[in-house]
């Protein structure tokens, strides 16, 4: 699963291939202001008055995009199901299925926004190109907005190698677009069903911990 030495060509040290320095471009002034207002849920002392204070992934709603397409600590598995006029990209995380029409139909109206946007796809030779827009903004990536545009290009470069080239563009958030080149390889077995909400002991636990901390702090105040 984790083998950068064998699977990353050219000894690169970043998933990002554009810009060449391998870094996400600078935030615009507007992007900076937006990011500064976001809660840091991982910080000690973060407000946890209810589940509504927690992130969408912790609440088992969505990882959002492009988050779901980028590797994280675990479950970086996707399944691509294809028919002549549709591709479905299934992510193990949150068992999210992105349905990608390939029949050339028009985009959704710009008035319609969805959690993981709306995708349209096409073939360019042997490359499956998926373009995603129409984000609702309820889930953002590093301050991204409803104007986020994603282009994923999936190319099979060898028997056991698939490459995904993902370009992220949101002109009001970053000074320029950036591109990730992610190598993938086949894995054995089927996707394991994601049972996030049914088994979300963690949400109960962190709310209980937060309530107990409140009680302990109140008891200290009373003693003063």
């Amino acid at each position: 699963m984790t083998d950068p030495g064998r699977y990353l060509a050219g000894r690169r040290t970043s998933l990002i291939v554009e810009p060449k320095d391998g870094r996400i471009p600078a935030l615009t002034a507007e992007g900076k202001a937006r990011v500064a207002k976001q809660p840091n849920r991982g910080a000690s002392g973060a407000v946890i008055s209810s589940w509504l204070d927690r992130g969408n992934q912790e609440r088992c709603i969505t990882y959002g995009l492009p988050n779901a397409s980028l590797p994280t600590l675990y479950n970086n598995n996707i399944m691509i199901v294809q028919t002549p006029d549709t591709a479905v990209i299934v992510h193990e995380m949150i068992h999210e299925a992105r349905i990608v029409p390939l029949d050339g139909r028009a985009r959704l109206s710009s008035k319609i926004g969805q959690w993981i946007g709306s995708s349209r796809g096409r073939w360019e030779g042997d490359t499956l190109v998926v373009e995603t827009t129409n984000f609702s903004g309820q889930q953002n990536y590093r301050g991204s907005t409803t104007g986020l545009q994603l282009t994923e290009r999936y190319t099979r470069v060898g028997k056991d190698r698939l490459e995904m080239r993902l370009t992220v563009n949101d002109p009001t958030t970053w000074e320029k677009p950036w591109t990730v080149l992610l190598p993938m390889r086949p894995t054995e077995g089927e996707l394991i069903e994601y049972a996030c909400h049914e088994g979300n002991y963690s949400m109960f636990n962190l709310l209980e911990v937060a309530r107990d901390e409140e009680k302990a702090n109140a008891a200290k105040e009373n003693k003063k």
């Binding site: 699963m1 984790t2 083998d3 950068p4 699977y7 990353l8 998933l15 990002i16 991982g42 910080a43 000690s44 973060a46 992130g55 992934q57 912790e58 990882y63 988050n67 980028l70 590797p71 994280t72 600590l73 675990y74 479950n75 970086n76 598995n77 996707i78 399944m79 691509i80 199901v81 294809q82 193990e92 995380m93 073939w123 042997d126 499956l128 590093r142 099979r156 698939l162 992610l182 190598p183 993938m184 390889r185 086949p186 894995t187 077995g189 089927e190 394991i192 069903e193 994601y194 996030c196 088994g199 002991y201 963690s202 949400m203 636990n205 962190l206 209980e208 911990v209 937060a210 107990d212």
Partner: protein, 137 residues
């Protein structure tokens, strides 16, 4: 015919290093890296939940009573890759678990390592490791 056009293909991303590391939930909000625990007990139930499986164990106290503990582990597919099978932790199996206790002192822990009766040690790696700056979010 497009070479990519297999009916179904299952692919895994090839590395974990990325600009944004996101786990399903926060270690820091639930567990205390300053409260390491070592628990020796008997498995009462194993819940294979994706993304975090839970092992329920019964720990014998000095006075003969027992205490029920819940141990959080990593995802089913990582446990399988590390050698766990559905038969590995049948009820009654004696195990030792090293992990980090819930911040409020509840009998729950984030599992780090599991030691089987034959001495095999398996990494349970869950939402966090307790390492510095590991805020799990």
């Amino acid at each position: 015919m497009n070479t990519l056009r297999a009916l179904a293909a299952l692919f895994a991303a090839g590395l974990v290093a990325t600009a944004s590391v996101a786990a399903h939930h926060s270690f820091a909000a639930e567990f205390d890296a300053k409260q390491p625990v070592t628990l020796k007990g008997t498995v009462t139930k194993m819940e294979w939940i994706n993304p975090h499986a839970w092992i329920h164990i019964s720990v014998k106290n000095a006075d003969g009573t027992t205490t029920a503990w819940m141990i959080e582990t990593g995802t089913p597919n990582t446990l399988v890759r590390r050698g766990f099978t559905k038969a590995s932790l049948q009820p009654g199996t004696e195990i030792t678990v090293e992990g980090y206790r819930a911040k409020n002192g509840a009998n729950r822990a984030n599992g780090a390592d599991l030691i089987l009766p034959d001495g095999r040690r398996l990494f349970l790696g869950s939402s966090g490791t307790g390492a510095p700056k590991d805020d799990g979010q």
